[in-house]
Symmetry: C2
Amino acid sequence: MNNEAERKKYGFTLPAQAGLDDVVLDLAERWGADAFRDSDGTLLSDSITSLGYDIYSTLCLIRADQEWNKAHPEDNQQKYLFSTPQTARDTTMEIDILARYSPEQYRIDEINDCKKYWEVVNRTTGEVVPTTDWDYANGIVTVRNCAKWNVYSVNFLVYQIWETTSMYNHLTNDWGDKPHQSGIDPRKKATREHLAKFLDKWLETHPDTDFVRFTSMAYQFPIITDPHHRTLYQDWYGYLDCMSAQALDEFEEKKGYRLRPNDIVEDGYFNSTDRVPSKAYLDWIEFIHEFMVEWASQCVKQVHDAGKKAVLFYCDHWIGTEPYRPAFQQIGYDGIIGPCINGREVRRIADVPGDLVKELRLYPYFFPVDLLDKPTFSEGGDPVADCKKYWMWIRRAMLRKLVHRIGYGGYLDLAIKYPDFIDYLECQTKEFYGICEHTDFTPVENAPFKVGILNAWGAHRSWGFDQTWPEGGITESLSGQPFDLVWMNFDDIRKGIPKDIGVIINLGLAGTAWSGGSNWADPKVVAAIRAFVDGGGGLVGVLDPTAHENGGAYYQLWDVLGVQKEVGLSNDTKKVIPTDLVEGHFLAADFVDGVPRLGKHVQGVYPCLESTQIIAKDADANVTIATNDFGRGRGVYLAGFQLGAEQNRLLQRAIWYAAGREKEMETRWYTDNIHTEIAGYPETGKYIVINNSNDPQTTVISDGASERRTVELTANASKWFDLAGNEIEQADAPGAMHEEAASV
Amino acid sequence: MNNEAERKKYGFTLPAQAGLDDVVLDLAERWGADAFRDSDGTLLSDSITSLGYDIYSTLCLIRADQEWNKAHPEDNQQKYLFSTPQTARDTTMEIDILARYSPEQYRIDEINDCKKYWEVVNRTTGEVVPTTDWDYANGIVTVRNCAKWNVYSVNFLVYQIWETTSMYNHLTNDWGDKPHQSGIDPRKKATREHLAKFLDKWLETHPDTDFVRFTSMAYQFPIITDPHHRTLYQDWYGYLDCMSAQALDEFEEKKGYRLRPNDIVEDGYFNSTDRVPSKAYLDWIEFIHEFMVEWASQCVKQVHDAGKKAVLFYCDHWIGTEPYRPAFQQIGYDGIIGPCINGREVRRIADVPGDLVKELRLYPYFFPVDLLDKPTFSEGGDPVADCKKYWMWIRRAMLRKLVHRIGYGGYLDLAIKYPDFIDYLECQTKEFYGICEHTDFTPVENAPFKVGILNAWGAHRSWGFDQTWPEGGITESLSGQPFDLVWMNFDDIRKGIPKDIGVIINLGLAGTAWSGGSNWADPKVVAAIRAFVDGGGGLVGVLDPTAHENGGAYYQLWDVLGVQKEVGLSNDTKKVIPTDLVEGHFLAADFVDGVPRLGKHVQGVYPCLESTQIIAKDADANVTIATNDFGRGRGVYLAGFQLGAEQNRLLQRAIWYAAGREKEMETRWYTDNIHTEIAGYPETGKYIVINNSNDPQTTVISDGASERRTVELTANASKWFDLAGNEIEQADAPGAMHEEAASV
């Protein structure tokens, strides 16, 4: 391990591979690496670990000892599934409960008492079938006394016999008859004790390891597959794979009530994070989190006691760790690593509270295909093009909130077949190091007000998905915008909106957790937001903001937003408010060829107030962009959003306008060319201007002292300046390598 | 009056006008008129009434005696309005309750006790504000102890001081300072007695009148206007204008519970017919109907006692008469007349049960502009083009169910300025008389099974609107299709689906009365329809069929239809059912250039079963046409519908296919050219082939004996044949005149 005193604040992690010693050393030099890592399927040879670099070793405890796992099938990980809904054609029916699921992935739980832990549900009536009316044998549940033509399905427990990440890696890399790995549950006493011993032994037998890279702790987010290995269900935030008969019993003991299997199965919706969470599901999350904090703390202590550091891979088996919850800090991790393909994923790591070393595992992963099965490091793939496209979004997000390290993963022998990719990474890493040095991790100067993002999850799901097209358009755009963001849930609103919030954004489809669903029927919530806007605040609504049918209104804050939505239930009410477009509106000032595309936008929105200012309508005369004054504040409505330079600027304008501070927007840290952005760091006395496009750009910038200067940038390039506007020479000009990336 | 014995079964009603005697006589000859009528704003001179034609005299009792109406403001008609929802910015607020409404149309009720009959409602919480917390004076309701930032509005009673039809005619014809007429409420004792005397007197003083054309009885369907005379709310089926303080009290007495004002106002939705009706609203309809049957019976008796006949204009003040309810027959009308612009409106009159003379008042009305304010008989208008367009749809509906009479209304002096219109009507009337004579009002031969149309209203709203584009596309298409239709509500389903039903159609947007809303959560309903389809029946779903979130399903009969809809709450569930289009499906056999347009169709529909057959998808891969086998029956899904020849055929195929009898479709009464249709009348031994298009068409027909023949038709023409296939010569060839009508 390097001397701590000499350590830079930043670094690069290189996925090394046994047998490629020379290559590894050469690349470490070119990419500025200070650490090597292994990956699932690769090993580091002694010759590599002894080179003097930091060694990151992946460890996935729950599948590390397959012999133990095989010997303890009763401790394999469990989950609730539900059988394919089946219509009763007679009063007796047979249900092949595993029919829709992969038999390679799951084994029906025949160990625990099915009459205690399963439910047969009449989905038509919602009634649970009495246990005397059904039996289980050989994969089949036989139900008697069915109500004919009602729909039934079974909520049943399985053991997961093929662990999800192992399954994904196996199938993606075509590992053939390599054995399937299972996962084990540390909640089980014997297993927990075994894993503690195993970890101590592992630490002892890995003297070269400096950082234990937990990938991750115990419970994977759910990826449920069908018999053809196709994904049936996937939720990055889902708490399905942390179930067991024992956990269900312990929950009852701890929380004072028993969960029904359907509290988890939720009639097949599985508490998808898109859904407004029930109290039972929130309690379940908390229950799992409490266990994880306790168990992970013990693992980290063992690592520390061995003189090593512990880092969490915030993906795969991250469930229960909850980096945005306060108790996460008790675990004592030294660092956190996240996969990162865009700006949102930069921020999901960078914004994690606490004094941790934060690292991004960038894409493309050194695998033949990507997550969508598109070729990357294989015939037909273009890893440089992919990497450039991602970097354009990643760079702008890093300028708002920086991480300490970047790195890659996978098989180096695949990557080195692409020399242009090797060259490109040299450029990318240098640009990253430049950002680290010129900012020195000091804060960027943002707008003088904070922007709240309001949904049913709040801070615990910071940088969670949003529903603008493509997935997460608005939050992706915000990841690189000059605003300090605060993720809020409805309880935060009920407690009182903090004074430093200038604008609240509510974005999502009607009824979802992102819009908020029935939270909007709470008088406290609507009153608090009306008071906030009336006092000068702004509400930016996207898709179906504040949507919940109540008291004659569908968008509850129609009076703030100035718009309402017709869903087919009030067509007899004519919409007679004038619908002319306003001319020369602040929001429209940077439109290039008319209104920018807003993706798959919401239909049926109309102005509902005389005061509504309509900025854009679609071909069917639905409102797509509108604003409205409310007291001393403003509402802004966007029917959709799609990524792009024009849309980024539209959103930026919408926020400044909603805050009632649009006059200040152009005065400081502003670029007049929408393809460029600026970020200023008062503490280091430097600023950067970036070109997000594939063409050379000229832009007039306003710096932090409102000085205006003209900056020229080649395609995709960035330039650093001191506060006097003198360009800071960089060793290399990484911009040249960025040409032809996808534009932001 | 002509001798009854000589009377033909059919006839034509001409809107005559004083001072145009020669013209009237000439047109009566050319158009084959047997009756003259007056209109609102025209009178018949003695010289006209003495010509020996039947005389139809319009009578609108409730506005006939304006002096009485003026002298009895307490008996003027009333309704509940609700004030513009207003957000409480303080704990006290003033609400200008009439602000959004026309002060020319309404006067606030200051006669009845507002504390008894009004409600101030906190729309945010749904709570009714205690009467001690508000007061009314001079148009303003002052509310105290408001919950700040909650939304309030007042449900209040008004008198309607400008009667709706009078207001419409006045504004449309620019009548300037002609006095505004009010309407009076026959529920009030003194007024009822006065109207009875007035009617007797009127009958006495109109000796030339043969038919009293009630236009209509007492209560208009609501057209609520704003201060600029723009329509705020309109519902052809709405029961708002039959309200009064007295009616509310009597309702309580009769039904055993008191309606809240909000039972009628419904937070501003006013029980629009698009909404699933509440029990309270259905009770209210019944209560009004009971009164109307009783009062209208008395009026009709007076007419009969005077030796005249009574006909009902099934529009304007038709509310409460309910021609599709059994008690309507008790009233004793001799005839019923309906305005008619398309096939749906033909059938709304033609299908009314009972032995009545049925008449259509065709469009264009002889007014300067039409209902949408588009010029007709004024500069820029083209009444012939309008008339031809309507007739193409009317003719095909008449071939399924015929009426006895047609006619027009309005000002003859306007119409005679358009000689080509006069010529066109000569042709139209002759074609109508031909249909009457060749069919002799005997039944057409339809498919050998009935088609049910299922919604929350059923038979009582036969030919009510539907939500396919443009308004009523599917039902318009069905009005001329070879199917016997049965309008059903969910109680009809609960009672048991009749054996002669072969196919049930459910069409409408989610949550509406047309789709059915929460009725789909009733296990009885879904079980009955599943059993019906399993036994060989068909379910055709259009837009959002069977939509209601319950038990993990949004479309409840996904198992029958084979499709489900994603509304943003289950995106984590991947849709892995194969989505290839089936080749050569029966439904697609007549597609000309690919899939016909389906108008504004529903988004987010996907196949949910392996058995689903996908016939069409839109550009976003949403399913737009699909079928599925279920037991011995079938489901068919259409995401939308739009009028046209291809779509008519698609619907026809969908119904035969759903019924499982697609092999029979082409054997009898079938034309292979989709621009043509055929209708056969076994009792008269004749059949007709029509050309719905603007081009000449050649078609191969199958007659009732499965004989195939080729028929040639000029644009828009029709030809009659005997069962041997011999063409029946017609005096004139009306087809020639039809050229360039809009195609069906």
